[in-house]
């Protein structure tokens, strides 16, 4: 199983790489893969079905130079802070483990290393709902997955010191959703490793996650193939770098 070391790049590149790996994996050209990455500049990704107008403060994002890119996966909008968030993705065949057949179990199986990493820090981390990880009841990580031809792509966040005031200013979270979670503002709902009292640098957060994934899966360091890079380039042009896709709803 392949591990791709940290890639720091624009959001359309990151989303294109994830899909390219998935396509190459479906075609049997590459092994199951785990990777860690950072969005640069800080970016917003929105779920496959989200409405840009309703779910993102596009004006604020533009003012702050924060690009908005639509994911291939469903779910909600995410702020990826260049200075406080690492994203993971796992591309894996469903037959790797029986837990992967079931959607809820598979989320927990694939995001398990994040919970382990938080526990390594002494934090009281646990899964919540379908796809969240909470520390002391507040969301610190969210994941989204898609499935195609027996292959799962799951990606998600690890917020070690995300600037929550920026997050709150660019994402539109409906009052109904906050009410549903029993909180008044996003600050009561979300946390970071730093807010829980532990300050990590990007390098420390990366090493922590990397070690945790290496414990959970039989990983070997590798790199993207030329085939994947070519696919990714095409996907940037046709999809993730294209307003027709990003602003389609």
């Amino acid at each position: 199983m392949r591990f791709i070391p940290l890639i720091v790049a624009r959001p359309e590149v990151q989303m294109a790489i994830d899909e390219a790996i998935m396509r190459a994996r479906i075609e049997g050209r590459v092994p199951d893969t785990v990777r860690l990455y950072v969005f640069k500049p800080s970016s917003v990704t929105i779920g496959r079905f989200q409405s840009v107008k309703h779910d993102v403060n596009l004006e604020k994002a533009r003012e702050l130079g924060i690009p908005v890119v639509r994911r291939i996966t469903g779910g909600g909008s995410v702020f990826h802070d260049e200075y406080g968030e690492i994203t993971y993705s796992v591309i894996i065949g469903e037959d790797y483990h029986p837990a992967l057949k079931n959607i809820q179990e598979s989320y927990r199986f694939l995001a398990g290393p994040l919970v382990d990493a938080l526990k390594d820090l002494g934090l009281n981390a646990e899964f919540s709902g379908l796809n969240d990880i909470v520390v002391n009841g507040k969301k610190i990580s969210g994941s989204a997955q898609t499935r195609r031809k027996g292959v799962i792509l799951q990606h998600g966040t690890f917020m070690y010191s995300t600037r929550l005031e920026v997050l709150a200013s660019v994402l539109k979270v409906s009052k109904e959703k906050l009410k549903d979670k029993g909180v008044k503002s996003i600050y009561e709902r979300v946390t970071t490793v730093e807010r829980e009292g532990i300050k990590l640098s990007r390098e420390e957060a990366y090493e922590l996650l990397k070690n945790s994934f290496f414990r959970a899966f039989p990983l070997e360091p590798g790199e993207l193939t030329d085939y994947e890079l070519e696919l990714a380039e095409k996907l940037i042009e046709e999809r993730y770098g294209n307003e027709r896709w990003n602003l389609m709803k």
Partner: protein, 97 residues
């Protein structure tokens, strides 16, 4: 006129934006932060609903899902789509009413 309905399902919000002309759907956009597999199903549903009469939409949603056994929606069901639809239609003034 444009009709918008939002419904918070157990997991995720479903929003329906319907553009109608004389009771017929000209365009419909279904958005939200839900999960559904395969994802293309949402665009297929939108296409299925365009051109239908507003009063037939609920039945059309039911028909659409009744023949799609490959669809998986964690924490979401067909009823949630119908509730979002009903909320959108609340704004509509039916003729003669």
């Amino acid at each position: 006129m444009k009709l918008v309905g939002e419904h918070k399902a157990k997991k995720g919000l479903i929003r329906m934006e319907i553009e109608e002309e004389r009771g017929i759907v000209k365009n419909i956009v279904i958005s939200g932060d839900f999960f559904i597999y395969p994802e293309d199903i949402v665009e297929e549903l939108e296409k299925h609903l365009v051109g239908k009469k507003l009063e037939k939409l609920e039945a059309a949603i039911e028909d659409f899902f009744s023949v799609r056994h490959d669809v998986e929606m964690p924490y979401l069901n067909v009823e949630d789509f119908k509730i979002a639809l009903r909320k959108a239609l609340e704004e509509y003034r039916w003729e003669g009413s």
